[in-house]
């Protein structure tokens, strides 16, 4: 089930660094399969993607959002 989330890109300092999307309402999503263009700290975006509850990660910063597209 695809969803759209608007917010800013951030890099969280877990492991070698994890790309995250902090929504305008303050929720933190861990980005999965983020393309290189999205990996820019402070970038304001709307990401379209799916929440992957079957995935576990080393970052554990919040729900895993598998990126499908962004604008």
């Amino acid at each position: 089930m695809s969803m759209k989330i608007t917010g800013k890109i951030d890099k969280k300092g877990f492991g070698m660094g994890t790309w995250a999307l902090v929504s305008n309402s303050g929720e933190v999503y861990e980005l999965k399969n983020a393309p290189a263009e999205l990996k820019k700290k402070g970038l304001a975006v709307t990401v379209t993607g799916t929440i992957r509850n079957d995935v576990m990660t080393i970052a554990m910063i919040g729900p895993v959002l598998e990126v499908e597209s962004f604008s």
């Binding site: 969280k12 300092g13 877990f14 492991g15 070698m16 994890t18 933190v28 861990e30 999965k32 399969n33 992957r52 509850n53 079957d54 995935v55 576990m56 990660t57 080393i58 970052a59 554990m60 910063i61 919040g62 729900p63 895993v64």
Partner: protein
């Protein structure tokens, strides 16, 4: 007969070993000799002997100190040869003549100081000092335990070169070769079992444990619950004792929950990170039953800003905080740079770092002898340093304490290590203690025991003899030497006499309770063996105790006659020697007579 020959060979070997041992007497350093003159020869005679030392031997004897005058303790310069000479000519005037050994402090330093590893970056591992790991290392380093690291894989970085590895599996690429392409798993494995005392990098907690690398997370740091569940089962099926899961997510999974139950029922301890979202309640898998959920602490022992808390947090451990460029508050281990694949010493933060601290300590507990996961969980919780005010459950049972945990695990069970440590701390492991300490005269004791078996063997050649009777051996040992090694044991605050009684032969018993080495004529005679024969001869089994005692006492008396013939009321002259020898012969004769009827019967 075969058994006896083996025993004789054993005694022979022991005798050879002792005769070849060079004790402190031949190794110690001394440049002077102590002479303690007997007081009863009179001041005049002592002065005369001192003068002889000066004139005849060109020595300049001096009192050891101003306190030595009443005891007449003199010091003269001299070496081994001089000592021999003095012993020969002055023995009759002296209480003792012996080397004036130079004692030196042993440079062992503080008890734990030898447990500080030589790894050059160890000083930066504040996290290990916070959990008191050095105290735990005094007991165990995790040898024999396998810890499965279910993570991004583990690469063989230089500071894992001495670390043992169990066969792992890469569930991402489905192959047995497990290479870390992220850097996370190698870091986690480092906290658990980084090669330590290898003059390189940093240390690990259970550095003698084995790492089982199981890769379930991709280079990006994520993986599916299916792979993770399979890895948990793999670990349980391949003798892992501990599983570390420095990973988490939001989704509940029955596959994973089943795998955890499976591993738990196989006795595996499972530890998981609480999660880094600073939210109330740990994520999965930390929140499953039978999984120890770990929250993360900073240098000061406070909750880190990111750590989850609340339900599912069982204990807290160092996870570190990296503040911008200041990495001193993070957790430092050896890992790989995922961009280049090269080895780096990197500082990480996270509940991912806290969990392997607990996994490492769990391995130490397993190595200490704790078996079931419940026992280990209890000890981890009970030994944790509780935090007085913890309304949000930031810390679970408290701060992880490796030293206390291992101490608690070993409490109540007297381990071989405890006994060994007790022996070592009291000096019993040093063979010099036995030979030079003066606690017991070892050589006569061995001779007495050997002698008793020799006599028994002589009788055996002429008469039917039951070597198999343990009563015979008991009698032989009790009569000849006793359990003489027990004599050297002193236990704090306990009376000494029980050890001395068990350590004494029948012949010595008369003086044992008072701690005198002078023989009592009632005990050092045929009397007790004779009474034993009268009382026990009609009993088919116990008579061997009496016979053994007779032979043993016979041997002890004969050897005493030559080596230490001092008897209370008789002295130490020829009369005492004759007394001892006659009694020895009587004992031997009695033993022969007692064995004789067996011949007629058979």
């Amino acid at each position: 007969m075969k058994k006896f020959l083996l025993f004789a060979l054993f005694l022979l070997g022991m005798g050879w070993a002792i005769s070849n041992f060079t004790g402190l007497a031949t190794q110690g350093i001394y440049q002077s000799i102590v002479l303690d003159f007997q007081e009863n020869i009179g001041e005049g005679a002592i002065a005369q002997q001192v003068e002889i030392l000066q004139t005849k031997y060109q020595l300049s004897p001096r009192l050891n100190s101003e306190f030595s005058a009443t005891d007449h303790v003199y010091i003269v310069q001299g070496d081994r040869q001089q000592l021999k000479l003095l012993k020969k000519n002055f023995a009759k005037y002296a209480e003792y003549i012996e080397p004036n050994y130079i004692y030196q402090t042993t440079d062992q330093g503080d008890y734990h100081s030898n447990l500080v590893p030589n790894d050059p970056l160890y000083g930066k591992q504040w996290n290990f000092r916070n959990i008191h790991v050095e105290k735990a290392w005094a007991s165990t380093k995790g040898n024999g335990v396998t810890v499965a690291v279910i993570d991004t894989g583990v690469s063989q970085v230089p500071d894992l070169a001495n670390t043992k590895f169990a066969v792992g599996y890469d569930f991402v690429s489905d192959r047995t070769e497990v290479i870390d392409d992220n850097g996370h798993g190698t870091h986690v494995a480092g906290t658990i079992a980084q090669s330590t005392n290898n003059n390189l990098g940093v240390a690990g907690i259970a550095y003698e444990a084995s790492i089982m690398p199981l890769k379930v997370l991709s280079a990006e740091g994520g993986g599916t619950v299916t792979d993770i569940a399979e890895a948990i089962k793999y670990a349980a099926d391949h003798q892992a004792g501990v599983i570390n899961l420095s990973l988490g997510g939001a989704g509940e999974s029955s596959a994973m929950s089943e795998a955890i139950e499976y591993a738990y029922n196989k006795g595996v301890v499972i530890i998981a990170a609480a999660g880094n979202a600073n939210q109330n309640a740990a994520g999965y898998p930390a929140r499953y039953p039978h999984v120890i959920g770990v929250s993360a602490l900073d240098v000061m022992g406070a909750k880190t800003p990111y750590s989850n808390f609340g339900a599912g947090v069982d204990i807290s451990a160092p996870g570190g905080v990296i503040d911008g460029d200041d990495e001193a508050g993070g957790i430092l281990q050896n890992t790989i740079d995922p961009d280049t694949g090269e080895s780096v010493f990197a500082t990480f933060q996270g509940t991912s770092m806290a969990a392997p601290h607990v996994a490492g300590v769990a391995a130490l507990l397993k190595a200490s002898g704790l078996q079931s996961p419940d026992e280990i969980i209890n000890v981890l919780k009970q030994s944790a340093r509780p935090v007085a005010e913890d309304p949000f459950n930031h810390f679970g049972a408290g701060h992880l304490d490796a030293g206390e945990a291992v101490a608690l695990a070993e409490k109540g069970q007297i381990t071989f290590r405890d006994f060994f440590r007790w022996l070592r701390d009291n000096g019993y492991l040093n063979i010099r203690f036995w030979l030079d300490g003066g606690a017991i005269a070892l050589v006569p004791k061995i001779a007495m025991m050997l002698g008793s078996y020799l006599l028994a063997w002589i009788i055996r050649n002429y008469f039917v003899f039951s070597w198999r009777s343990s009563f015979l051996h008991f009698g032989l040992i009790a009569g000849s030497s006793g359990l003489f090694f027990l004599k050297g044991f002193y236990i704090f605050d306990l009376p000494q006499w029980p050890m001395r009684v068990m350590g004494s032969s029948l012949t010595e018993l008369g003086g044992t309770i008072q701690g005198s080495s002078v023989l009592n004529p009632l005990f050092a005679s045929v009397l007790i063996p004779f009474v034993l024969i009268i009382l026990l001869l009609s009993h088919p089994e116990l008579k061997w105790l009496a016979i053994g005692s007779n032979i043993g006492v016979s041997s002890a008396l004969a050897i005493s006659a030559f080596l230490q013939p001092t008897i209370w009321g008789i002295g130490s002259g020829a009369i005492a020697q004759i007394f001892l020898l006659v009694n020895a012969l009587l004992c031997f004769g009695l033993a022969r007579l007692a064995v004789k009827p067996e011949v007629r019967l058979s």
